[in-house]
Amino acid sequence: MNPFIKVSGLSYQYDDVEESNNKAPILNNVSLEINEGEFVAVLGHNGSGKSTFAKLLNMILIPTEGEILINGKNICDPDMTDDDVLELRKNIGMVFQNPDNQLVATIVEDDVAFGPENLGIAPDEIRKRVDDALRDVGMSEYAHHEPHRLSGGQKQRVAIAGIMAMMPRCIIFDESTAMLDPMGRKEVMNSIVRLNREKNITVIMITHYMEEAAMADRIVVIDDGRIILDGTPFDVFEEEELLKSCGLNVPQSTALVHLLQNDGLNIDGKCVGLEECADAIAALILKEV
């Protein structure tokens, strides 16, 4: 089976090198494959190039070099028609950082309808999609509210519903939880995980929260425009020193496990989550006693 997204030798550099302080390319020879239904977290510090990567995937930016195949179709092909671009953006939705700056309409359900309306879908079908999408993110009771009266987490869920209503196969979250409080972050993370598990939507989640990245199936770490790590959360968090050297961190529970392992203690299992770590450490302490 072909991968859903196949990126090879991707580089990106600002056109006007004079203007940007940084002459180094934003992305440098990035190659990556993502399968349908995967939940991939992309980690990197601010300015590492991770957001640029996301914007290349749905043609908001055009790569300087390299090739992106989505579902086998080369989207860097200059022959892409306007309809091809629409088809691509319909399939690869994007949710951004600032919840205020992506809602268009003054009523929640009208906003969710915006995408399907642009696609020229029949009114009855739009109605059905809007209701389904709002239900999927748990915002049905807010259908007639004004977006500016919602909390940050609720706004972000409306934004997700707006993408869902286009029936995409993949959603990219570009630091979608960065401006939210812990409660809002939890709400949005729950929605993201559900979309992936229940609707089999491919999720690419750009973040710098380690606890969120730990919930993904796979973590890709980008630093200075290159992929430096790619693997399961456990494998990636094993490289604590490398992560720290590029301005990142590991979850507190993992940091503790590593401290204990450095002392030569044998901690079993590939523990990433809190419960797993607790199991492993408890086993260790109770065995010794």
Binding site: F96, V104, I107, P116, E117, L119, M166
Partner: protein, 272 residues
């Protein structure tokens, strides 16, 4: 700052709220025409009566209606005074020093007050109080859609209006935040000379503009990601169908207009 009301929409379920918004815009225009058809006491009385009836069936509290009129109170008083003191006629009521007040002046003032009040009540009851701003925008787009054939960017214009309506509360909130932040740095917005107060606005306006431009650019990207490509090939989730009952108010207002004209021709009562 979550209490900002968009426009003056008053939620209720009156007959007026339920009329198709496109019809309501036409009704408002016809009502304005009617108010200019009035020529004599009886027709003005009919106009005043119609305004009262409109308020009653709209179920909007009088407090809100008067609140809306307060904004034009100055205009009302000013035009009345001009009419009272400067209109000349046959029936002199008061002649004292340089002040001459004629009966015609009194009538002119009363007529003017009725006309302006009816104009405001008519347009606000038909449109702003009973129709949400977004319905108004959509209806204006619908009504003007024949102009699309002449390449008038009707859809783009309506889209701009929608986005403006969506972002007004956000920007008001943002202005408030920036003002608070600058006050914390010692800016004084409420005292000093006019020049120094105007200067105090610079630290608010610059960040506000920068942020508005950033928001606009973010929003443009987000809209592109949601497949926005102008009005061509776009559908709407909410399609409005004009029902037969929607035409009834049109007939009523046409009857009102005709009767006003008839009253003018008959010339009953004091005529201006």
């Amino acid at each position: 700052m979550k209490s900002i009301a968009l426009g003056q929409y008053y939620p209720s379920n009156s007959i007026l709220h339920r009329i198709d918004p496109r019809i309501k815009i036409i009704l408002a225009i016809l009502y304005i025409v009617c108010s200019f058809l009035c020529k004599n006491i009886i027709s003005y009385a009919v106009l005043a009566l119609s305004a009262v009836i409109l308020i009653l069936i709209s179920k909007i509290p009088l407090k809100i209606i008067f609140g809306g009129l307060k904004a034009v109170l100055f205009v009302l008083i000013f035009t009345s005074l001009i009419n009272i003191f400067w209109t000349t006629g046959e029936y002199l009521l008061l002649d004292w020093l340089f002040i001459h007040i004629y009966l015609e002046g009194i009538y002119a003032a009363i007529f003017m007050v009725i006309r302006i009040t009816a104009l405001i009540i008519g347009t606000s009851v038909f449109m702003t109080y009973t129709t949400t701003p977004i319905d108004l925008t959509d209806s204006i787009e619908d009504l003007l859609s024949p102009l699309k054939k002449l390449h008038v960017p009707v859809h783009e214009f309506a889209m701009m209006m929608t986005i403006a309506l969506r972002f007004i509360p956000t920007l008001v909130e943002e202005t408030d935040k920036i003002m608070t932040a600058q006050k914390a740095r010692g800016v004084d917005f409420s005292s000093g000379s006019l020049v120094s107060r105007a200067k105090a606005l610079i630290p608010v306006l610059i960040p506000l503009f920068v942020s508005a431009f950033n928001r606009a650019s973010d929003l443009a990207t987000a809209m592109e990601c949601r497949c926005y490509h102008g009005g061509d090939g776009r559908t709407r989730m909410k399609v409005r169908h004009i029902r037969f009952v929607d035409f009834i108010p049109l007939f009523i207002i046409l009857i009102l207009g005709t009767s006003l004209v008839v009253l003018n021709i008959l010339g009953i009562g004091f005529t201006m």
